[in-house]
Symmetry: C2
DNA sequence: ACAATGCATTGAAGATTGTCAATGTATTTG
DNA sequence: CAAATACATTGACAATCTTCAATGCATTGT
């Protein structure tokens, strides 16, 4: 190792301009993890969806869309829209009985979501 | 109390049309609480902001904007934009030293936010 | 004073989200 | 079958969010 010819090249490059922070540190939260957590949070981050989840959690298995519509300050298509989002995410599901659709929470999926969210934001 | 004249009026009104759910129940989560929780979640629900919070939490008091910009897949104005949002919410703050701005987490505010979020979604 | 640097702000453009009237689809009831 | 009911879907619109080039503003080094 003949390092006698190049004494302090790396040092000059670093010290030129007096850098603010020496460490180039990638975030411990990876881009993928951040995206996943962001998706989870985004799904919850709407007052109507939160109230829907709240109502479905309280009244196990007996909530039809007309009940939700009556209790929420939005019209029926909007309720259906948010129900569809929650259903696509696997958080809720429904069972049609004749003319009505009874929605219910998928407790395991909701617990898994809650575990991911709580676990990740604990590290912040 | 002369209830002899009106025997089953209320019953007929209820049973007409065979309602889906008898109970009209307001959500336990009030509209105000839902809005507050939604705001908290919305602030966190972005991968860049999550990674910023993560970096600031790890490296106490020595993170300048150029570091964030180097570690994140967005340009400098975008970094400044997200920093401004987090700062307006009181989650972070900065201290200018000469040419650089060192950002840091307000641990108490972040803890309060985390407590609100965890406390509320525990009830879902 | 001048050039360079770090960061904030502005303004514009595109993407996403939220809402609802109108309409469609089943199902029940008369 | 026809009317009524519960819900889903479509399509359009407005509002909000996200991003970045351009620019502005201090501060530092020459």
């Amino acid at each position: 190792m003949n390092n006698t010819t190049v004494p302090t090249i790396e040092l000059t490059e670093r010290s030129r301009g007096s850098r603010c922070c020496a460490n180039d540190s990638a975030p411990r939260l990876s881009a993928e993890a951040a995206q996943q957590l962001s998706d989870d949070l985004q799904l919850l981050a709407h007052p109507i969806r939160l109230q829907i989840l709240d109502m479905l959690t309280r009244r196990e298995g007996q909530v039809c869309v007309c009940d939700l519509e009556a209790a929420l300050p939005v019209k029926q298509p909007t309720v259906s829209h948010h129900l569809k989002l929650l259903r696509a995410a696997g958080l809720i599901d429904c069972e049609r009985q004749g003319l009505w659709a009874y929605y219910f929470v998928r407790r395991d999926a909701l617990a898994a979501l809650r575990a991911r969210v709580v676990g990740q934001i604990a590290g912040l």
